[in-house]
Symmetry: C2
Subunit: 159 residues, 2 copies
């Protein structure tokens, strides 16, 4: 456990994460109901399927870290059939993340944990992956929206 | 200046950033020369133009932070006509970032700086923006590659 001047506090990292989640929520909202489930480019997944992946990773991933639970990755509970269900699940996950965040101490971020029984990395790396992966798939949603002639939200809108 | 157990060290944040830069370099390499400059979806910029933006932000942005220089944002020096020139500029920027990184002390990340005379935020926020914005635009390149029938690199390839 290194103690020195920190460049980002635990609270700031949570705010960064939930700020991104707020933007992704806006992107989900922008999709017409049918395009959310059906539109895709180049054989990629629909935006609904990409959001299913994010729902299966982020909330459950943080919970698994807190519980040191190595249950396998499972998207099945997050395959919904309406945008409203996705938005409700999204909000529930954001609330769960903020709650579970208190269960990770500063000193644990450097500890290695085998997330989903498969991704054996320092907890910090897993959490950064959650955020990066969301930015990555959300940006694919931006291209889908542009291809549909819909203006996406500004990238810096985080609340 | 808060001193407590840090969740990410300055070196780890640099490694995270340069790891993303290594992946973006691979995405540039995957594009056929003409598609890099000409292909787009939904009226968006070509991947070359998106990389121009990244080149104008990241290296110059960090240098501006170190020098506390508020010169305006300027993409003009980064409009190249060949992929090779983009790749050379990308490598030069990655080297410059690693060099300039030593010029930002841990205690400065919380200081506010008016980047490019316009983005008046804590230095940490500006640096996280550099990384997030790269992930965002690179992901748009992933969709372009898929639309072109080209397999993009794996998201976790960071070296």
């Amino acid at each position: 456990m290194e103690t020195t001047t920190q460049i980002i506090s635990k609270q700031e990292l949570l705010n960064h994460w939930t700020g991104h989640r707020a933007l992704t929520r806006k992107v989900i909202e922008k999709f017409p109901e049918n395009d959310f489930f059906e539109f895709s480019i180049g054989g990629m997944r629909s935006f609904a399927k990409l959001v299913t992946e994010l729902l299966a990773i982020e909330g459950p991933g943080l919970k698994a870290i807190v519980e040191r639970n190595t249950d396998p990755f499972n998207e099945e509970p997050y395959n919904f059939t309406t945008k409203d269900e996705y938005l409700s699940a999204w909000d529930a996950a954001t609330a769960a993340i903020s709650n579970d965040w208190v269960g990770v101490d500063e000193g644990e971020f450097g500890e290695t944990f085998n997330l989903f029984g498969y991704y054996n990395f320092p907890i910090l790396q897993n959490i950064l992956y959650f955020i990066d992966n969301e930015i990555h798939h959300r940006a694919q949603g931006y291209v889908y929206l542009r291809a549909l002639g819909i203006e996406p939200p500004f990238f810096w809108e985080r609340n």
